[in-house]
Amino acid sequence: MSEAAVDKPKVNYYNAKSGIMSWLTTTDHKRLGIMYLYSLGVFFAFAVFMAFLLRLELFTPEIDVLTFGGAQAGDLYNRILTLHGIVMVFLFIVPGLPAVFGNFCLPIMIGAEDVFFPRINLLSWYCYVLGGLFAIFSIALGGPDTGWTFYVPYSTTTGHNVYVPVLAAFIVGWSSILTGLNFVTTVHRLRNKNMSWFKMPLFVWSLYATGWVQIIATPVIGILLLLVMMEKVFGIPVFDPRIGGDPVLFEHIFWIYSHPAVYIMILPAMGVVSEIIATFSRKTIFGYHFIAYSSIAIAAIGSLVWAHHMFTSGMANEARVIFSFLTFFVAVPSAVKVFNWIATMYKGSIRLSPPMVYTMMFILIFSIGGFTGLHLGALSVDIHLHDTAFVVAHFHYVMFGSAGIIFFAAMHYWFPKMSGKLYNEVVAHIAGVLFFIGFNATYFPLFIAGYLGMPRRYASYLPEYEFYHKFSTIGSWVMIFSMLLMFGNLIYAARKGKKSSDNPWGGATLEWHTSSPPPTLNFDKLPDDIPGSYDYPLEVVK
C-alpha cells in the first residue's frame, strides 16, 4: 500500500480530471479516442451477438431457431441480418480505426497538442452515439428487413420501419464527415514544423487519404438516405417507377458512396500494418513513397469502380467492361503495398509480439480476400457468383478478417500507450491463433457453398449445403470464444496489468517518445529534432 503511495502515478490525460462530466464534455483527442473505443465496443458486441444468432439459424437447413415472436418464417432472420450489417458497417468498421486510433494517435504522431477543431471532434462523437442509439432503437419498432443496402423499391414499400435505421446511418455519416474534415485540416495546419510531409508516419498518410474519401463520399450517401426518408415519411417519390423514377439510379448512387466506403475501412488498416511491420522488423519501411502514394491511388481509383456491385442490375455492356477493368486496376496499388510489407520484413530483426502476429494473419487473409475480389470483378464469373455466399465470404475476409483483425492488432499495439499497462502476451497469442482458425473455419466453407450456388441472405437452404453451414457455424463459435478471450485479456490488463515502459515495442514514431499514458498536452517536452518515423537505433532494445 505504502509503496503505491510513494510510486504515485504521473499526471496524465486519463487521471488529470475525473468524473463522468469531465469525459462527456472533453475535447481532448485522447479521451475522445477512448470514448469511441468503449462505444464502438458496445455496438460491436451487439452486432456479434446478432451474427451468433444468424449462424445458429443456419446450423440446420430448416428455419428452427429464429421463430419466436410469431414472426413469419425467415422474417426475423432478415431483420437480424439487416441490423447486423448496419451496425457492423456504419458503427464498427467504417468509423473504427480513424475514430479510435486516429483520434488517439494522429495529433501525437505529428507532434501536435490536439486536432485542429477539438469541439467539432466532440460533436462528432455525439453524432456517432446518437446514430448508434437510433440504430439500436429501431429494434423496438420491429427492425428493418431490407439488408444494409436499403435498395429501393423494397425499402420504400416494405411494411417494416426503415426510416429509423436510415436516419441512424445519416447521422453517423455526419460524424464521419466531421472526423475526416478535422483530420485533413489537422494534418495541413498542425504538423510540427520539423515534420515534413514525407517524414510523416504512414498511418498519418492513410488517415489523411481516408479523410478525403470520407469528405468526398459520405455526403452522397447522406442525400440518398435523405431521399429514402423523404419518400417514407412525406411520400415524395423519387425512384418510384410509377412516376418515371429509376431504381437502378438508386443503386448507382448508393455504390458511389459505399464502394469508396470499403476504402475508408481498409486504408487506415493498411496504415496500421505499415507501422506495426516496421516496428517489429526494426527496419525502415520498404518503399515509403510507394506506400504513401498507393494510398492516394487507391482512394482515387477506388472512387471509380462502384458499378462492379451492379453487373447484374442492368447496365450497358461497355460500361460493365470498363468497370470490370478498373476493378482489376485498383488491385494494383493494394498489391504494391503487400509486396512492400513483405520486403520490409525481409532480413529484418522480426519480433513476434501479438500485434505482429495479428498483422501477419492480416496479410494472409487480405490476400485471400483480395484474390476472391478479382473473381467477383471478372464479369463472366460474377454473373455466376453474384448474390451468393461467395460474396458473403469475400467481404467478411476483407472487412472482418483484414480491417477487423487490424483493429485488434492496433488495440494490442497501442494498448500500452493508451493505458500505461502491459497485457499477458501468451493469452493474446492464443486468442489470436484461435481467431485465425475460427475465422477461416467460419468463412472459407462459404466460398465453396457460394460457388456451388448457395444464395446469400437466405435463412433456409437445400440439404446439400448442410455440411458447409455446419462447419461454418461451429467455426463461428471458436471465433466468438477467441474474441471473448482477447477482450477479457485486455480488460483484465487495463485494471491489473503490469506497468508498461514508455516504449515497450521500440517504436520510432513520435507517440513512443512521450510517456505512457501521455500527458494532457501530449508531450512534456517535444524532442528538439523530430526523428524519422522509421529510424531505429542500431542497438537492439530489450
Partner: protein, 216 residues
C-alpha cells in the same frame, strides 16, 4: 449541423484554457472549405438525379417547368445576389473597423433571406392550392416524368430553403458575436466563414434557378 460547424470554428481560439494553440484563420477557413465541399456534393447527388431524369424525360420536364412562376423566382434571385453582395461588404466593413456598418449590412442580409423565404412560401402555396404536390391525385395523374420533375422541384428547392434558414440563423449568431466583440477587426474568420456559407447558398440557387425555371 452546419451552424455548429461554423460556430465551433470560431470557438477554436477560445476553447479550454489548457490548450494554447494559436489563432489560425487559414486553418479555420480550410475547415470551412472542406465543409462547403461536402455541401456541394450533397446537392451534387440531387443534380445527378435531375440530369438523368431530364435526359430521360425532356418533354415532361419542359411541361413541368411551364407551371412554375418565373417572375417570383427572378425576384428571389435578385434578393439572393444582393444579399451575397452585402455580406461581402460587411466583412470589408469590419476589417476597416466600421462595426456599425458591418452590423447594418448583416441585418440587411438577413432581411433578404427572410424576403426570399416569404416569396418562396407564396410560390409553394400557389402549388399547394392546386393540389400540385406529391401524394395527391393531381400529382399521380401527371405524366410519368412530369411527376418526377415535381418531386425533384420540392426536394431541391426545399433543401435549398432549409439552407437559407440555416444561413440566416448563422448570420444572426455572427451578428451577436460581432456586437459582443468576440468577432472583431483582428479575428473575423467566423464572419468570413458565414460569408462563405452564404455565398454557397447563393451559388446553389444560381444553378437551381435556370434548371427549373428557365431551361425548360
Amino acid at each position: 449541423m452546419s451552424t455548429a460547424v461554423v460556430n465551433a470554428n470560431s470557438a477554436h481560439d477560445s476553447h479550454d484554457a489548457e490548450h494554447h494553440m494559436p489563432y489560425d484563420p487559414m486553418g479555420i477557413k480550410i475547415g470551412m472549405w472542406l465543409f462547403l465541399f461536402t455541401e456541394l456534393l450533397l446537392f451534387g447527388g440531387l443534380f445527378i438525379i435531375f440530369a438523368v431524369y431530364s435526359h430521360m424525360y425532356p418533354r415532361e420536364f419542359h411541361q413541368g417547368s411551364s407551371h412554375l412562376s418565373v417572375p417570383m423566382a427572378t425576384f428571389n434571385t435578385f434578393l439572393l445576389i444582393t444579399s451575397s453582395m452585402t455580406i461581402a461588404q460587411s466583412i470589408t466593413a469590419l476589417r476597416t473597423g466600421n462595426k456599425k456598418l458591418c452590423l447594418s449590412l448583416l441585418t440587411f442580409t438577413i432581411a433578404c433571406a427572410a424576403g426570399f423565404l416569404v416569396v418562396k412560401s407564396f410560390e409553394w402555396g400557389a402549388k399547394f392550392h392546386h393540389d400540385l404536390y406529391p401524394g395527391t391525385e393531381v400529382y399521380f395523374a401527371l405524366q410519368p416524368g412530369e411527376s418526377a420533375f415535381f418531386s425533384l422541384y420540392y426536394l431541391m428547392t426545399g433543401l435549398h430553403a432549409l439552407h437559407v434558414i440555416i444561413g440566416g440563423i448563422l448570420i444572426a449568431v455572427v451578428m451577436r458575436a460581432v456586437s459582443k466583440g468576440t468577432v472583431n477587426q483582428e479575428k473575423y474568420a467566423f464572419l468570413e466563414n458565414a460569408g462563405l456559407y452564404w455565398h454557397l447558398v447563393d451559388l446553389i440557387w444560381i444553378y437551381l434557378f435556370p434548371l427549373f425555371y428557365l431551361v425548360g
